[in-house]
């Protein structure tokens, strides 16, 4: 197992679109497990392969307090979505920034597990939000894209400033 390095906004590689996984073999399983380890290490609840610069449709999620109920979603798809709910989100690729995003409240989704078997499930609450957030990543989208232009501008300025300070330290 190995820790992967997570890309940070505004890295353009976060805009890449992932392609479907064709065969779920040992190399995919290794990537998924490394992603999980990376997510635990960074303190996240979900991670998409695009965030570690792997352009395949792989997501890992764990919402449990004890960090012992991992979900591996290969080729996830949303089948239907209902309702609307605003929840405060953050992202390992946009460190230390949190804001409210409106998403569907309930979803039905389909995915393959690490053995290649297909499942169809329903989700609501935090899990529904997290799946929508991660599938966005696979399509090159970030949660901050949903914010107003003004908020996005301010965020970019803040990050640029951090970058400058960081450069000075170096």
């Amino acid at each position: 197992m190995a820790l992967l390095s997570v890309l940070h906004y505004p890295d353009p590689r976060l805009r890449n679109v992932a392609r479907p996984v064709e065969s779920i073999d040992d190399s995919i399983r290794t990537i998924a497990r490394d992603m999980l380890e990376t997510m635990y290490d960074e303190g996240g609840i979900g991670l998409a392969a695009i965030q570690v610069n792997i352009r395949q449709r792989i997501i890992v999620i764990d919402l449990s307090a004890d960090r012992d109920q991992p979900l591996y979603l290969i080729n996830p798809e949303i089948l239907h979505a209902e309702g609307a709910e605003k929840m405060q989100e953050g992202c390992l690729s946009v460190p230390e920034y949190f804001d409210y995003v409106e998403r569907a409240e309930r979803i039905g989704y389909r995915y393959q597990d690490l053995n290649g078997e297909t499942h169809e499930r329903e989700a609501d609450g935090l899990l529904a939000v997290c799946i929508q957030h991660e599938i966005d990543h696979l399509d090159g989208k970030l949660f901050i894209d949903y914010l107003s232009n003004l908020k996005q501008q301010r965020l970019r300025k803040k990050l640029e400033k951090q970058e400058r300070q960081y450069a000075q330290v170096l």
Partner: protein, 438 residues
């Protein structure tokens, strides 16, 4: 994705704010507010902050008054609550003082109290410096010393001139976790062995043949045989009701204010050969707990959601041999378990509750068979809800006589038996029994 770090102090302040402004119980607020908190440590911390602040708020507010030139205005209630949260951590928790100050000051951001940051900082730092003097002053002030609102101290003094200090101190103790062994499925000795196997420390409750007190609290899932119905969680004082009801084989029993059903289940556990038990409660939402418990313990009862004071809407006309009236009350006997009562209860509430109590007795008495008995129970320590209610009812003389409780494990009163909070490590309960004469 990741989630924002939880501002535990801000969350506790929000919960306390809703407690003050909406008069909803802490238990209820925890259900809605702590659901989104995933970390168990954070959950426990927020709940300890809330319970602690609520339990000690009259004392915390005294500290605050000592630290301010003029009191915080009512429109800044949130700020006052946040100050209590900060003071509680310094006075009662083992958090390092500087950590408590900075975390409490930072919580201002999440509460839109940015303007008050310097003030919160100053208040908490002053408290750390002057703590010894302020604590001493608090011990000399009755409200701060006993940490109860002044009206409640006065009311308890009036009713219990010898015991009021012990009662107030008992109310401020953290309550034990008490168990009731299901004697249909096991015995207390057998269950004690299961606890020993799991190294769970316990002691017997002398007043309750099925009662055990655990030396520390556990989740019910951790208790051996809980899901298999060997045991329930119930305070020892509440366990006295079933025996005092004296239900016998063939009896029709009415449990008039049954939810959440601890006493209902105990009556059934004690006497498997009843003719029937009807459990009524006005709140349907509270009855699902009773259904769950009946199923878990393998017991059966008829359950109805109804207003007991309107018998024509639910009574089939067959008189009852036993009626248990576990009446709505001020709950002043269980403040150690529900410290929010100190904040929620108002002096005028007692009169309103008395009307309900008298109404229930008047409505149910006609449903009792000749020679039948009615057991009146409250978790109150106020004479006006206890002996006075029974005295009034006996004076009306509708075929009624007192059936004196001969073995009282607490304090004998004119008509009944009062357990004072903390007495024998029990909750504060009142019992009186009346008999219908021909």
């Amino acid at each position: 994705m990741n989630q924002p770090p939880i501002q535990t102090r801000a969350l506790a302040t929000e919960i306390l704010y809703r407690l003050c402004t909406e008069s909803v119980s802490l238990d209820h607020l925890f259900e809605s507010h702590l659901k989104a908190v995933t970390g168990n440590r954070e959950k426990a911390f927020v709940s300890d902050l809330c319970f602690g602040v609520v339990r000690w708020h009259p004392r915390l507010d005294f500290y605050l008054q000592q630290l301010l030139d003029k009191p915080i205005r009512q429109k800044n209630l949130k700020l006052r609550l946040l100050c209590w949260v900060g003071l509680y951590q310094i006075a009662y928790q083992r958090t390092a003082d500087h950590g408590a100050v900075s975390a409490t000051v930072n919580a201002c951001d999440a509460l839109s109290l940015q303007w008050a940051k310097a003030m919160v900082n100053a208040i908490l730092r002053h408290f750390i410096r002057r703590q010894e003097t302020i604590q001493q002053a608090a011990d000399d002030n009755e409200v701060a010393r006993y940490a109860h609102p002044a009206w409640l101290i006065q009311a308890i003094k009036t009713d219990w001139s010898d015991d009021w200090q012990a009662i107030l101190e008992g109310n401020n103790q953290a309550p034990p976790m008490s168990l009731r062994i299901n004697r249909r499925r096991t015995t207390r000795d057998e269950y004690a062995r299961l606890l020993q196997e799991k190294s769970i420390e316990y002691r017997e409750i002398s007043a309750c043949p099925q009662g055990l007190i655990l030396e520390s609290a556990y989740e019910t899932g951790e208790l051996p045989g809980f899901n298999e119905g060997l045991v329930s969680v119930q305070d020892g004082a509440a366990q006295l009701a079933a025996a005092l009801l004296q239900a016998a084989p063939g009896h029709r029993v009415l449990d008039a204010c049954a939810a959440p059903g601890g006493k209902t289940c105990h009556i059934l556990e004690r006497e498997p050969r009843l003719h029937s038990l009807l459990a009524v409660d006005i709140k349907n939402a509270r009855l699902h707990k009773l259904r769950e418990n009946l199923e878990r313990l393998g017991l059966e009862a008829v359950i109805k959601t109804a207003d007991v004071t309107q018998p024509d809407t639910w009574w089939d006309g067959e008189p009852f041999d036993r009626i248990l009236v576990d009446a709505p009350c001020s709950a002043t006997g269980v403040i150690r378990r529900h410290p929010d009562i100190k904040m929620l209860r108002q002096p005028a509430d007692i009169d309103a509750i008395r009307t309900v109590q008298m109404n229930i007795l008047d409505s149910l008495w006609p449903l009792l068979a000749s020679d039948g008995k009615l057991l009146y129970v409250t978790c109150s320590i106020m004479r006006r809800e206890n002996d006075e209610i029974i005295g009034n009812f006996l004076d009306q003389g509708q075929n009624v006589e007192l059936d004196l409780i001969d073995q009282c494990p607490g304090t004998r009163t004119q008509y009944g038996c009062q357990i004072l909070p903390g007495q024998q490590d029990l909750d504060g309960f009142y019992f009186a029994r009346m008999k219908k004469i021909r």
